[in-house]
């Protein structure tokens, strides 16, 4: 007695879906009762039926070296891929501080950022910010070496739903931040203008725990 082709097809489908790996025709045959094992041709016919039925669906039957498997159609990969998307991670502190300084002190050179932050700014951070299209080079400072000055972009303000940079909260609005620290910050900047090459080494050596910070965070992103 031979089995209904529809039934064979369904058993094959069920097995392929449950196995989650390719199954050979031989293996598929072993699933049937010993006295009702379909011939290889019957299995093939079942596979063809299955393949035809998949036309309108999101998966298809694929033959690979170790047998047959059901696979999500490539057309749906973009959506399916989001299942495994890494949780949008957070940006490192280093990147956020760099971004904040560019937003509030633009145009600003990398050396100036480094001077305020007290540690070197990795090229990776500058690259990430530019790739994200939040930051771009807006000019070059007229000092030896002509360092690039960075500023924020339209995409940056869009991201924060701001019409313009004017809508950024003002520094004065920051709590816990007294004017002295601001002035000191500016004084720093002015000094750095003149001695752009100085900062990193020396300052890092100063802040005992900055070394750690640098090691830990500068490589992120």
């Amino acid at each position: 007695m031979s089995l209904d082709p529809q039934h064979i097809k369904n058993i094959i489908e069920a097995a392929l879906l449950a196995a989650g790996q390719p199954l050979s025709i031989d293996k598929l045959q072993t699933l049937f009762d010993a006295d009702h094992v379909p011939a290889r041709e019957e299995i093939r016919a079942g596979l063809e039926l299955l393949s035809a039925e998949c036309a309108q669906r999101s998966f298809e039957l694929i033959e690979v070296s170790s047998g047959f498997r059901l696979q999500v159609k490539q057309d749906y990969a973009p959506w399916v891929a989001r299942l495994w998307e890494e949780r949008p991670s957070r940006y490192s502190r280093a990147l956020m501080e760099t971004l904040a300084l560019i937003a509030y002190r633009q145009p600003i050179t990398r050396a100036e950022i480094e001077d305020i932050r007290g540690v070197a700014v990795s090229s990776q951070i500058m690259k990430t910010l530019q790739e994200r299209e939040w930051v771009r080079i807006v000019g070059h400072r007229d000092v030896p070496g002509k360092p690039a000055m960075y500023g924020t972009t339209r995409q940056f303000t869009d991201h924060f739903n701001l019409k313009s940079l004017d809508e950024l909260p003002t520094l004065a609005e920051l709590r816990d931040l007294d004017s002295i620290s601001l002035e000191l910050g500016q004084a720093e900047l002015e000094l750095t203008d003149a001695e752009p090459e100085r900062p990193t080494g020396e300052i890092v050596a100063d802040g005992q725990d900055e070394g750690k910070v640098q090691a830990a965070s500068e490589n992120e992103n």
Partner: protein, 298 residues
């Protein structure tokens, strides 16, 4: 001899329960069916391989389970247990377990004591004027019922379709380039402000360091200036400033000079108003140094 393996009595099967045993005989002396042989009341003359008995007894989940088995086997109503009869049967099992030196769970003995107590209370004459008196079996009945419902619930649960046993997760392969699927993090305005606050707070901290270090670089410049100066000839004030050092350097040089003057190490000379300023090492300083040197060599 009656051989018996785990296969005949498998935990989780309903073996010593309602099914076949009860069907085989409602006779209370039926003990078990081992490979089709009806064993009767643990008679000492009938040899039962201890292994078989052990397996059999092991299938009980405790005294409540054993009692339920005894009750069901005889189609007795759980609500009206003939205590004397059940107690007698129960004790047969307990004795059997003892005889076979099976590890007898303490719960079995506790139950034996409880049964004996109920039995004796049942024998006591009841007082019609003691309406508060409860049926001595009530507590046992309650516990049996309670256990039975969860025993049943466990069987029902086990009968539920189970993943990997009755139902299987449907899966299909998917071929994707996982690298291409990174979404960048989002950043809120708060994050940005927080970062700014942090960095400025830290910048302030560094500034303190600068202030502390400033005297050092002033000292350094003081040394430099002193080494440039001559005790005899005047050096032009402006030539002491090195433009390459930038504004910061100029400030430090100036501070160094002021400090040198304050300490009377150098003297400043200006011939006329707005004329060039000249600097030379102060004589007194020179003298002091000589004295010191003399003192040192003496």
């Amino acid at each position: 001899a009656v051989a018996m393996t785990d296969k005949q009595i498998e935990p989780g099967q309903d073996l010593p329960g309602e099914g076949e045993v009860a069907a085989a005989s409602a006779d209370e002396t039926t003990f078990a069916i081992v490979q089709g042989t009806v064993l009767t009341r643990l008679p000492r003359d009938l040899y039962i391989p201890p292994d078989a008995l052990e397996v059999f007894l092991d299938t009980f989940e405790g005294p409540l389970d054993l009692l339920l088995y005894l009750i069901k086997r005889q189609n007795l109503d759980i609500l009206d247990i003939p205590i004397a009869q059940i107690t007698r049967q129960y004790m047969v099992y307990v004795e059997a377990m003892k005889d076979l030196r099976l590890e007898l769970a303490a719960e079995y003995l506790v139950m034996a004591a409880m049964l004996a107590e109920i039995k004796s209370r049942m024998l006591l004459p009841r007082h019609a004027d003691a309406p508060e008196e409860e049926d001595p079996r009530a507590e046992l009945v309650r516990r049996l019922q309670e256990y039975e419902r969860y025993k049943q619930a466990a069987e029902d649960l086990n009968a539920q379709p189970q993943l990997g046993r009755d139902i299987f997760q449907a899966m299909a392969e998917v071929v994707i380039n996982r690298n291409a699927t990174k979404t960048p993090p989002t950043v809120s305005l708060d994050d940005l402000l927080h970062a700014l606050k942090e960095v400025l707070a830290r910048a302030e901290m560094f500034t303190h360091h600068h202030i502390q270090r400033e005297p050092l670089s002033v000292r350094e410049h003081m040394s430099q200036i002193l080494s440039t100066l001559d005790t005899v000839r005047f050096t032009e004030f402006t030539s002491l400033f090195i433009p390459e050092e930038g504004r910061g350097g100029i400030v430090v040089t100036l501070l160094a000079l002021l400090e040198l003057i304050k300490e009377s190490l150098v003297e400043l000379v200006q011939a006329e108003a707005f004329g060039p300023i000249h600097v030379r090492v102060a004589n007194t300083a020179h003298d002091d140094r000589d004295v010191n040197e003399v003192g040192a060599t003496a």
